[in-house]
Amino acid sequence: MKNEKYYKEAFDEVHASYDLRRKVMDMKDNNKGIMGKRRMGFAVAFMAVFAVLMAASNGICYAATGETWVKKITVIINGKPKEVDMEYSKKGDLLIGEAELENTDDEVVSLAVASDGELPDDIEITYDGQKRGSGKKSAEVYNDEELGRVYLSKDEESGMIYLSVCPKEQSKGNEYLVQTLQIDITDDFEDGTAEGTFKYQGKQYKYTVNGTVEKPEINITVCE
């Protein structure tokens, strides 16, 4: 109890400033996008290369229940093999696999695998340290030879919508170096259309998204 009290008393002295309070109150009059913010005008989150992952399937597939399959795979993170149950479900033409495993003693890794065909032996893994759970609705993938896979997802709890870019496997032997770019398009997509630009691996791209999270039309072009 003493620790709680001590902690509370210290942080009770931390308050939002008067200026911030005023700015936030004023936002209701200005409505969206007129904040006096220093940055974050375009909320791009770049999921860092957190790990080099290698994945191999032993081909065992079991517990097929309706549209869900579970397949045992071995994931090697930083040289340490871990066996996980990857749960696959069909979303449109896309096969989404999700699994969780403890990486280090304090880190849980969430894996997301996307395939547009059969249960794959060679799989693409996204590891961004964030849970990809039931809250996420994956949508149709836009495939680009150079860019990789692009898809839309929605976090049900916060309501945020992301345009995610997952590159094609950058393989080095059996290792996959995985990066994911996430662009927050929540506000822009409110009317069913979002457009903008992003920089990825040294190139500038323009994107347009129409439709719904479940059935979007995504177009990506390279800016000259």
């Binding site: 620790n3 210290a10 911030l20 309070r21 770049f46 003693d105």
Partner: protein
């Protein structure tokens, strides 16, 4: 969202959001950016809340997500971290200040867990659900956070398992 309801939520939850953002970002200006973004999302999204607890959890969840996004956007720009501009809170006594700085020495993912547990009073299970990690990870982060505070604050911080 109705203006009166927005005002009420800002009045009641602004400090909560700001403290969560500060516990993640560590810097006042970053925390202010995150706080503005959280309330902008509240304003522009049609979220139907079931009760007060739902409002609070939604705001905390968005604050954590936005703090992570901020960190990652900096990473992309090769800045290597949050804002270097520092403006620290002023404390009425040294003991409180010691605790604050000891907490801020922890990595962001530990700080958020410590804050939600010790300040907001959430259980490890609730924190796991709020920030989308498994409960074992929450316990481990708490244990490491406590260990660090015990080492830094000595007898001012009670030993906990």
């Amino acid at each position: 969202m109705q203006t009166a309801e927005y005002d009420r939520i800002v009045q009641n939850y602004m400090d909560i959001v700001y403290r969560v953002a500060l516990s993640y970002t560590r810097h006042q200006e970053d925390a202010e950016d995150v706080t503005q973004t959280v309330f902008l999302k509240l304003l522009t999204k049609n979220v139907t809340f079931q009760d007060e607890e739902h409002i609070k959890k939604w705001l905390i969840r968005v604050a954590v997500n936005e703090s992570k996004n901020l960190w990652m956007s900096f990473w992309q720009r090769n800045v290597g971290g949050f804002s270097e501009e520092k403006e620290e809170p002023v404390f009425e006594n040294g003991e409180k200040s010691d605790l604050y700085y000891a907490v801020m020495e922890l990595p962001p993912k530990y700080r958020v867990v410590m804050h939600l547990f010790y300040y907001e009073g959430y259980s490890t299970k609730e924190i796991a659900k709020l920030i989308h990690i498994n409960e074992t990870a929450v316990r481990k982060r708490l244990a490491r956070g406590r260990k660090h505070l015990k080492e830094r604050l000595k007898e001012a911080w009670d030993y906990e398992e």
